[in-house]
C-alpha cells in the first residue's frame, strides 16, 4: 500500500495530485527548483526537497535528483503529473529499478506510444483506424512523392519522435514537397535528435476528440467517455468540454470501444488518453496516445464523477477498478478554460510577473484548479498556465453561462491574462451553437480580437480610477511634517543668533 507519494511536478497539477493524496490519507512530498521556493505546491505538501536550479533541465527533468529526494523522504511512489518526466520511459524504468512505484503505465507502453511510427503500426495491428499514410519512416523525396500520389494532397509530414503539436509540416502544393520534406527532417533532428519522419493525409476541418481510459493490472479497461478539445491556439488547447457537441450515442460507443482496444494493444495500465482526429463527416482516426493524466482531466471527473488521481493511485496499488463500463455515465455538461499569463493582443506572448491581486471565482457548479496567490511571482522558466476554470451545468447552455459568470468574477492584476479573450469565445455564435473545429480561433479571429464597446462613460471610469489612485499616491509621498525634529528649532535659533552676533 502506498503511504507516501512524491509528486515530480510543480504548479497547479502538483497541488491537484496532493489534494487527492490528502483525501486518501497519503503523505505528499514536493520537489522544487530554486525558482519555486515560494510556490504553492511546496507549501501544500507534507515534505519538500530542493532538486536544483531554476531551468527544468537541471531540476524537474533531473531524474537523479528526484530519485534522491524520493529516497531521502522514503516515498514509496512517484506521481509524475503531466509534462516534465511523465512520458519518459527511462524515468519509469529507473523508478522500477529503485523499487519505487511509478504512478503510470509500464515503460513498454510509454515507448511504444511515444514513437509515432511504432504507435501507428501497433494500432493498425490492433484494428484501430489511423490517418491514411505511411507506416514506415520515409527516407527520400521520391518515396514521399509516390506516397503523395497515392493518398493525395494536402498531407502532413510529421516527426516520429514529435507530439504535442511539435515537428509537423503541412504540404498543400506538390512543388512544396521537396523543401518541406528536407526541412521537416532537419527540424526533427534538431528538436528530437531523431530525423525519422512519416507522411499522413491532412484531415480538413478536423475535430480533436479524445477518450479517457482507465486500466488496472487485472485486465480491466474502461473508457470515461470523450473530451472535445478542438479550440486551440498554436496547436495548444485552450478550452475543452465534455460531452462533445459533435458526438452522438452511436459514435460515442464505437469510439469508446476503439479506445479501449487501443489501450489493450499496449497492455496499458493506469490513466491514459486516446486522441482521435474526427472529420466533419464523423470519420475518426487514431492520432496519438498520451500515457499520463491530461491537463483537461477535470471535465471528465466532473461529468463522470470519478477522481482520476485517486484511481491512478488505486491502480498503482494493484487494486482492481471499482466500476465496470456499464456503471459509468455522463451527467450534465462540463467546460474547462485554461487561464494563461499571456497577452492575446500580442500573439499570445507569455507575460510572467508579480500577482499584485487575485480574486478567484466561487459558487455553485464551479471548480478552480490553480496555484498562484497574491504576492506570488510567476517564474519565467515554466509554463504560462496559471489556473484552470471548470464549470458544470445540467445543460451545455447552463455550463457556458456559468463559465461566463466565473470569468467575470475572476480578477487578477499584475500580469496580463487571456481572460477577456476566453469571455469573447463564450460569446461567439459558433461556440454557443457547438459548431466548431480546430480552425475556430482562426475563423473567428476578427470577433475575438475586436474590442468590445466601452463608451465615454466607461472610459471616464477608467480615467477616474487611475486619477484617484495617482492623487492618493501623491498624498502618501508628500514629505512628512517634521514633528520629530521639533527640538532642532532651538539649534536653528542658536545658529541664527551666533550668525547675527558676528
Amino acid at each position: 500500500m502506498i503511504k507516501k507519494v512524491l509528486v515530480a511536478n510543480r504548479g497547479e497539477i502538483a497541488v491537484r495530485v496532493m489534494r487527492s493524496c490528502r483525501e486518501m490519507g497519503i503523505r505528499s512530498v514536493a520537489v522544487f527548483s530554486d525558482a519555486d521556493r515560494n510556490s504553492m505546491h511546496v507549501r501544500y505538501a507534507d515534505e519538500a526537497y530542493n532538486i536544483g536550479p531554476a531551468p527544468s533541465r537541471e531540476s524537474y527533468l533531473n531524474i537523479e535528483a528526484i530519485i534522491q529526494a524520493a529516497k531521502i523522504s522514503g516515498a514509496d511512489a512517484i506521481h509524475p503529473g503531466y509534462g516534465f518526466l511523465s512520458e519518459n520511459a527511462a524515468f519509469a524504468t529507473r523508478c522500477q529499478d529503485e523499487g519505487i512505484i511509478f504512478v503510470g503505465p509500464d515503460p513498454y507502453a510509454i515507448t511504444t506510444m511515444g514513437d509515432k511510427i511504432i504507435a501507428r503500426q501497433t494500432m493498425i495491428a490492433a484494428g484501430v483506424p489511423v490517418v491514411p499514410g505511411t507506416t514506415e519512416k520515409i527516407n527520400d523525396e521520391e518515396k514521399a512523392l509516390e506516397i503523395v500520389k497515392e493518398i493525395g494532397l494536402p498531407i502532413m509530414i510529421k516527426a516520429s519522435a514529435g507530439g504535442g503539436g511539435k515537428g509537423m509540416r503541412l504540404v498543400k502544393h506538390i512543388d512544396e514537397l521537396g523543401s518541406s520534406f528536407r526541412r521537416a527532417k532537419s527540424e526533427a533532428m534538431n528538436a528530437f535528435g531523431n530525423d525519422a519522419v512519416y507522411i499522413e493525409k491532412y484531415i480538413q476541418s478536423p475535430h480533436h476528440i479524445e477518450f479517457q481510459i482507465l486500466a488496472d493490472s487485472h485486465g480491466n479497461v474502461v473508457h470515461l467517455f470523450e473530451r472535445e478539445c478542438s479550440i486551440q491556439r498554436r496547436h495548444q488547447k485552450v478550452i475543452e468540454e465534455t460531452p462533445s457537441p459533435l458526438m452522438n450515442p452511436e459514435l460515442r460507443r464505437e469510439m469508446g470501444e476503439t479506445a479501449v482496444q487501443a489501450a489493450r494493444a499496449v497492455n496499458y495500465k493506469g490513466a491514459g488518453t486516446i486522441e482521435f482526429i474526427v472529420s466533419d463527416d464523423l470519420e475518426y482516426y487514431f492520432l496519438e496516445m498520451n500515457t499520463r493524466l491530461q491537463v483537461e482531466h477535470p471535465v471528465t471527473e466532473r461529468v463522470v464523477g470519478v477522481d482520476l488521481v485517486k484511481e491512478q493511485i488505486n491502480i498503482a496499488n494493484g487494486n482492481p477498478l471499482p466500476f465496470r463500463q456499464e456503471d459509468l455515465r455522463q451527467s450534465g455538461h462540463s467546460i474547462q478554460c485554461r487561464i494563461y499569463a499571456e497577452d492575446p493582443d500580442n500573439n499570445f506572448m507569455p507575460n510572467p510577473g508579480l500577482i499584485s491581486h487575485i480574486t478567484e471565482p466561487h459558487g455553485l457548479g464551479l471548480r478552480c484548479d490553480g496555484y498562484v496567490y497574491e504576492g506570488y511571482e510567476i517564474p519565467i522558466y515554466y509554463d504560462p498556465m496559471i489556473t484552470k476554470l471548470i464549470s458544470w451545468g445540467e445543460t451545455r447552455t447552463e455550463a457556458i453561462a456559468r463559465m461566463k459568470r466565473a470569468l467575470y468574477e475572476y480578477k487578477i492584476t499584475g500580469v496580463k491574462t487571456n481572460i477577456k479573450f476566453l469571455e469573447k469565445i463564450m460569446d461567439t455564435k459558433d461556440f454557443k451553437d457547438g459548431k466548431y473545429n480546430t480552425h475556430f480561433i482562426e475563423k473567428n479571429e476578427e470577433a475575438l480580437h475586436a474590442s468590445r464597446l466601452c463608451g465615454t462613460e466607461c472610459e471616464d471610469m477608467a480615467i477616474m480610477a487611475a486619477f484617484i489612485d495617482f492623487l492618493t499616491k501623491m498624498e502618501r509621498i508628500q514629505p512628512p511634517k517634521y514633528t520629530d525634529e521639533l527640538g532642532s528649532n532651538w539649534k536653528d535659533f542658536g545658529r541664527k543668533r551666533n550668525v547675527l552676533r558676528l
Binding site: 499571456e342 510572467p352 491581486h357 504560462p384 466607461c458 480615467i463 492618493t472
Partner: protein, 169 residues
C-alpha cells in the same frame, strides 16, 4: 488644479472639485461626476455612479503615472500628465527614431541566442536576439537595414521587462 489624462489616443482634462472620503466630485472634459469611489482591494476600485456599480482594475506601469486599466469591456493604457511629464515629453520630441535603434525586451525572460556581433551590418528581417520566457522563444528582428552598435546582454542572461538589450545605428 486640472490634470491631463491620456487614455490611449484620447486626452482628457480632469479636475478634482471636491473630495470627502469616498465621495468625490470630479470634472472630466466638462462632465461633472459625483461618485462614490473606493479601493476595495489592492489595485481594484469600486465606483458607484448614479446607482451603477463599476469595477476597475489597475496595474501600475513602469512609472507611477502610467497604468494599465481594465474595465469590464476593455483594457486601456492610461497616463497622468503632470508638469513633470509635460516637461519630459516636450524634450523628447523626435525620440521615435531612437526607438527604432534599440532592441527592448517586452517581457521578463532569458536570452537564448544572439546570432549577431557588434559591428555587424544587419538587414531588415534579420534575427538579432532570441529571448525565451515560459517555454516560448521570441525572435527580435531588425526593422530596417542597420549596424549593431552595442550589445548590452549576453547569452544566458536574465532580462527584465522593458530592458534595453541592443543598440543599433
Amino acid at each position: 488644479m486640472a490634470y491631463e489624462v491620456n487614455l490611449e489616443h484620447r486626452s482628457a482634462k480632469v479636475e478634482l472639485l471636491n473630495r470627502a472620503g469616498n465621495k468625490v466630485l470630479l470634472d472630466i472634459d466638462g462632465h461633472k461626476y459625483d461618485v462614490d469611489i473606493a479601493m476595495v482591494e489592492k489595485g481594484v476600485y469600486s465606483i458607484i455612479y448614479n446607482g451603477h456599480s463599476y469595477n476597475v482594475e489597475l496595474i501600475e506601469g513602469d512609472s507611477s503615472k502610467k497604468y494599465i486599466v481594465n474595465t469590464f469591456a476593455k483594457t486601456f493604457n492610461v497616463e497622468i500628465v503632470d508638469a513633470e511629464s509635460k516637461y519630459i515629453s516636450s524634450r523628447s520630441q523626435g525620440m521615435e527614431a531612437e526607438e527604432e535603434n534599440s532592441v527592448v525586451s517586452p517581457m521578463p525572460g532569458k536570452v537564448v541566442r544572439i546570432p549577431v556581433s557588434v559591428g555587424d551590418a544587419v538587414t531588415a528581417g534579420q534575427t538579432l536576439i532570441v529571448v525565451e520566457a515560459m517555454k516560448m522563444q521570441s525572435e527580435f528582428k531588425a526593422s530596417h537595414d542597420k549596424k549593431v552598435l552595442e550589445i548590452l546582454v549576453k547569452e544566458g542572461d536574465t532580462v527584465n521587462a522593458h530592458q534595453l538589450m541592443m543598440k543599433l545605428e
